[in-house]
């Protein structure tokens, strides 16, 4: 938050996007780390929130109402879509979320109400009680505020009773179910909540940018969230923020370098894809606890082996060798 006051104009625009991205990533990391579901389609919820806010604002609703509706709309879509979708697991769910993102993109490209391929232009700026947010700095505060809210909600969720149920889910759905945890309900709830986070960020994005198009929300966006969540350590809220910052700034820095004269025009794409890929594969293969946790542990106790339980549990339904029930927690009342 302090950074929002201190940074200069050019850095602020990066800050806004970073804070918005981090908000979505918190949701993704909750989903992947605790409810154990891979979502290749969270960009769709970001887009849903953005389009919901944009559409309402353009049709005359007060902008702050439009902004409040954004997360609700996204969460609502997730709740509805999640009922059939969350029957699936593992790679089937991954594919289904990818399909969802693609279908959503197809829809907004086709419908005239969403402006088709061109999208929504000239979205009125955000304002309430006579105050209009028009400077980048104000959006920086707003997006930082949203991030703080999202992080607080996520943290609260994890320490609460539903949160313990969630963590049980990630260890073993079978164990959780046999302890009386309504597995299906919790998975749906996390799915909807994480979609809500994304929708809120999307709503702010709509007002910040002032225009939206399907091209703003490619499938690559969903993949970016996964990379950031993986880098930060699946399931760790602070990791989501740190991972987002790391990846975002790294890619941004590289694209600044790559747009210097002398570099080919495709250099930014090449570098950013390469960075995403290397980070993703390294995180997932070598550091399931996340790069960030790894670095921190080395910092604090040089030489000592850091002990992090891998949040992506191994007791997945597709693994017959691991049918043993592993419960890491006490009682679930």
């Amino acid at each position: 938050m302090a950074a929002a006051t201190l940074l200069d104009e050019s850095a602020l625009s990066v800050y806004v996007l970073l804070a918005l991205t981090a908000s979505v990533t918190v949701g993704v990391t909750l989903l992947m780390g605790h409810a154990g579901q891979v979502s290749l389609g969270h960009g769709a919820f970001y887009a849903a929130g953005a389009y919901a806010a944009g559409l309402l604002a353009k049709h005359g609703f007060p902008s702050w109402i439009a902004l409040l509706v954004a997360p609700v709309a996204a969460a609502g879509i997730a709740a509805v879509v999640g009922i059939p979708l969350l029957v699936l697991r593992g790679h089937h769910l991954a594919f289904a979320t990818l399909a969802m993102h693609l279908i959503f993109l197809s829809l907004i490209s086709e419908l005239s109400i969403t402006g088709g391929d061109v999208g929504l232009q000239a979205i009125p700026p955000l304002g309430f009680a006579g105050v209009t947010l028009s400077s980048v700095r104000s959006y920086a505060f707003l997006s930082a505020g949203a991030l703080v809210l999202v992080v607080a909600l996520a943290r609260n969720l994890l320490v609460s009773r539903p949160g313990r149920a969630l963590r049980a889910l990630s260890s073993s759905e079978v164990a959780a179910a046999s302890s009386g945890v309504a597995v299906g309900h919790y998975k749906l709830a996390v799915f909807a909540l994480s979609a809500g986070f994304a929708g809120l960020a999307g709503g702010i994005y709509a007002f910040y940018m002032g225009y939206l198009s399907p091209g703003s929300f490619p499938v690559m966006l969903s993949i970016e969230y996964i990379v950031m969540a993986a880098v930060g350590g699946l399931g760790k809220v602070s990791g989501a923020v740190a991972g987002s910052a790391l990846v975002f700034l790294l890619v941004h820095g590289l694209s600044r370098i790559s747009t210097l004269s002398g570099m080919p025009g495709t250099a930014p794409i090449i570098l950013s894809y390469a960075v995403y890929a290397v980070l993703l594969v390294s995180a997932v293969l070598f550091l399931p606890g996340g790069l960030v946790a790894f670095v921190l542990a080395r910092w604090e106790r040089p030489g000592a082996r850091s002990e992090r339980a891998a949040p992506v549990s191994e007791a997945k339904p597709g693994d017959p060798a691991n049918e043993g029930v592993t419960s890491k927690h006490g009682s679930f009342s």
Binding site: L88, I223, Y273, K316, P320
Partner: protein, 286 residues
Amino acid sequence: MNAFFSYLVHGISVGCGFALVASGIIIVYRVTRVVNLAQGMFSVVAGFAAATLLGVGLPHGFAELAAIATAALVGFLTGVVAIAKPGTNPQASLIATLGVGVFAYAIEVLTWGDQPRSFSGLTGAYDLWGIDVPKQYLLITLVTLVVFGALEAFFERTYAGKALSACASNPYAARLQGIGVVRMGLYGFALGGALGGVAGVLLTPVQPISYDSDVSLFVNGFASAILAGLKRPVLGLLGGLVLGIAESMVAGYAKASYQSSLALLLTLAILIAQAARREALHAVEE
């Protein structure tokens, strides 16, 4: 009526392409339990490679075979990343294949740029019973039939094929029999790469590819594989044909932009129905 047949012909050849991608997905899945998100990328690499080799002067036939070999190598390397490290669970492998696919984007743009490419295959068309059948479509269909025949023979008749199937059915027992499961997995990935490569060199003359064509190839291939139940590669042919023809009809009679959503919705419906049935029976997912 003519329109119907030309959609049908188009759908069959497109469906064959899907089927080849699907067979790659099925084989990798059967042998390693991993869904290879990079499968579409193998086709793209092969298409680009063939275009380059043909441009350099290599004759038709050789260029395509070299491109397919390249795709097989890329498949092998993908397998190394996905499964060679001991202790990688299928979920991590899935994400690893995603990472490989994204890395491949970087390499592809670096090597070939970000614009679509194509090369000419068989030009001209035959007139069969009044329908225009482009020769390339015939080639696609014929090659696909041959490939699937070979796959069927390989898996059912040869020892290597049966070893691969054994890894798929029961990795533990396979290991007990002395079959190196990881090695088999890598062979599976390489084979998947080759199959993707065949799809790539066959389809590129018909449809220019660019570095992001892999998404729709994967989506359609996976949809076909699901329709086939992710079991025997040969069934992928049926799945691919059904999907290809359905999409072609939708594109022809309704709106072309809805065809991918059709594939996706169909796949989702089947997946969910299968899973719901499984949950109801309390069966352990294989």
